[in-house]
Symmetry: C3
Subunit: 324 residues, 3 copies
């Protein structure tokens, strides 16, 4: 991660949200404001005409250096339902390939009068680098949304997870939340942990094999549980993480079957949680690897509502940034 200045690059001089880079460093009120705004947008997607003119004539660029059809699509839908013009840049196959630097690409988009850059990059800190650059060239009017940077952060996923928890559990205080799986490589886990701490969740547990837990993760304010049984015991919310196939071939894990036996969420394992516990997953799911289909399709799963809330949350983020 980059060396960031003391001041919060996500907020402008008036303390308003001007970029969304990370949940870490977001004041509680900013977080709550996004969730409340998302609430009001949720209804729009249920209308016959799913469109409001809030971002009409704005140019939103999807700048995905890492392929992610899922996340790109949700931002594209969110922006289109706000009436923005959306331009998808297939960056992997473009100017970067021609040797152009990242910041030259950004400068070009700014020169094209971009209003928003939605950035996904394999390197942690890339959106910060872009924001630093925008500040240096005096273009704070261009807003950056981090759509996932390396292992660092995936703030809109974190926000939609919080929206989901608030929707089903109303209040964060007193909640026990278990985040299960490959926490080491997960930007989702990091964003969720920061959000849960900011919103005052009772206990956050990081559950996974030692090889997939970051060292010193306790310092993030979580309780580490290396076995699933302890991790799930009496919890209110279970957030399962996607196990990336590439981890399987490395030295980190013996096999998918072994992983499922120890950390896969089966009905039997879930029975350890509170009876009204909800099960979340950022998708796409590996059925039979980190989650049993009986759970994924069961009554406690709120995985598809997460997707619905995700559109509303992204509409909220885009419209708040455009308004500030």
């Amino acid at each position: 991660m980059l060396n960031r200045p003391q001041s919060n690059p996500q907020l402008n001089a008036k303390g308003e949200l001007t970029h969304l880079l990370s949940i870490d460093g977001l004041p509680r009120e900013a977080l709550i404001r996004i969730l409340d705004t998302a609430s009001s947008f949720l209804e729009i997607s249920d209308r016959d005409v799913k469109k409001v003119p809030l971002l009409r004539g704005k140019s939103v660029f999807n700048l995905f250096f890492e392929n992610s059809t899922r996340t790109r699509t949700t931002f594209e839908i969110a922006a289109k339902r706000l009436s923005a013009d959306v331009i998808n840049l297939d960056v992997a196959r473009s100017s970067t390939a021609k040797g152009e630097t990242l910041l030259d690409t950004v400068d070009n988009l700014v020169a094209m009068h971009a209003d928003m850059l939605v950035v996904r990059h394999a390197a942690s800190g890339t959106p910060y680098l872009i924001v630093d650059h925008l500040q240096r060239i005096g273009r704070a009017d261009v807003h950056v949304v981090n759509a996932g940077d390396g292992r660092h952060a995936h703030p809109t996923q974190g926000l939609l997870d919080m929206y989901t928890i608030r929707h089903y559990k109303k209040d964060f205080s007193g909640l026990t939340v278990a985040i299960v799986g490959d926490i080491l490589h997960s930007r989702v886990a990091r964003s969720d942990i920061h959000a849960l701490n900011t919103l005052g969740a009772g206990e956050v547990r990081a559950v996974g094999p030692q090889t997939l837990l970051p060292t010193a993760i306790e310092k993030m304010g979580v309780r580490v549980c290396m076995d699933l049984q302890t991790g799930l015991k009496d919890c209110d919310v279970v957030i399962m993480l996607r196990l990336q196939n590439e981890r399987m071939n490395g030295a980190l894990l013996p096999s998918a079957r072994e992983y499922f036996r120890c950390y896969g969420l089966t009905p039997r394992a879930l029975a350890l949680a509170k009876p009204d516990a909800i099960v979340m997953h950022p998708g796409p799911m590996n059925r039979g690897v980190e989650i049993d289909s009986l759970v994924a399709d069961g009554p406690q799963a709120v995985i598809l509502p997460q997707v619905t809330f995700g559109i509303a949350v992204r509409m909220a983020v885009l419209s708040i940034l455009a308004g500030n």
Copy 2:
């Protein structure tokens, strides 16, 4: 193909069209209604402002598991001229690649408040599988259009072919229609045969080498002709099928040159048909393989009008589904 329930999954309880999966099973009136609606849309594409607000605020997803720029583009244009928001999913490079199941992808799009899924898939029956699933989860408000599934069906192509024939020949009764080429692998041929039978064409002929004719095709109500001369004799409509290059390398055909000599539509062969016979082709054409350029560019070819009618037919299908 999947085992389908008795009732027609394309129609809702009131007998209205709610998905377009196959021409097989479509009542004559549903077919005629689409053609008549297309007629009224044809004029829109000739206007200065080629746009009507019928699908404003609707989200149409192009879900192409098989690459087809041509068909995807026609659906994209049709949806945009109806003012819908169109989202192209590059599924080949996306979540499926990440191991997500087809139905999880569908569930996600439904959770994003998709109104229509336009589906192309290499496996016959995929759109049926999706519709079954939508019924199971109680989301009959999401409409599915089959944009080609394996060898099974390509109903919008069938419909645009019928539109074309009706445009030039007015009445189906008494017409002799020859479908020429690789009928074995052709979803277009199957859709055309069903449509011609439903609309009461006089005689439908399946013309091609034995290796490219499905066994028991006579049961579909066609006359089999293994030589082109018999097949074209006195017919009113010639529908040439595209010969896929990959057939050439297999055991099914000796060579492209041989194929052209026996089944290629030359002016000499076409002279066997009625003097006012029309020549159709679903595109993209292999000039010099299944069709001679003299015919493709000749006065009897209506291959480009097919494309024009195709936009109107797809606009009709999308708007009818949205209306029901």
Copy 3:
């Protein structure tokens, strides 16, 4: 390049611009009209709602046979800010791959009621071929914009370069313009030279190593300078060309380092030009190959304003073609 008819295929019978194929052959008034129209569009991209309804309901197809995210994006933005429906055809992966001819693809887009085709192709003359074909089939109402054809022309780049020069230098007469680099392979250089000659620039210099200068380039009305020092001496405008990496591996150039030492634009080299000389580059830049970062980011560089003007120029071209 193709054998073109005597008459100018870019102009209709009334002498109005109906296609934009090349700056060569464009009357001075047509050029000036585009620049003046671009002036009025520049302001739109600064508005809160960056959109005018001039091309509402028009279908603009980006037909890029050669990959160029940058240029495609600028046309996409320009068309969307004019409210057109834009359809990106990924031609490299589509029907052409299926063996369809170029003109069959064009015929299909015409049949879909395309209003504009923005064409990029590796073969010089392709847009002319398309225009010839459109004339032959009597469809002069479909407009073609050349977005770069082989080594031949890149007229919108030429126009935006002229816009930039006029913006900073007001008048072309008396200006000395140095075009530096790989002129042999550069369609940008050819378009700039024609434009500068038409607009009456004082002196145009072609600067580069002999292996990268076309034979008989003097006939285009330029002064050839084989060393950078002579080339830059007292000039008002420096247009640096992108050095394509593939030239490096061939017999044309010893190495990137060698090239930079001889033809790279460093502050020291730039000091030979007039103190108020501007530095231009079509992008994407190879920093440290053809241009030093100190110059690229220095006060004389107008490379990013070029990008901004490029959107306005493309909006002007599309709207003028649509109006005629």
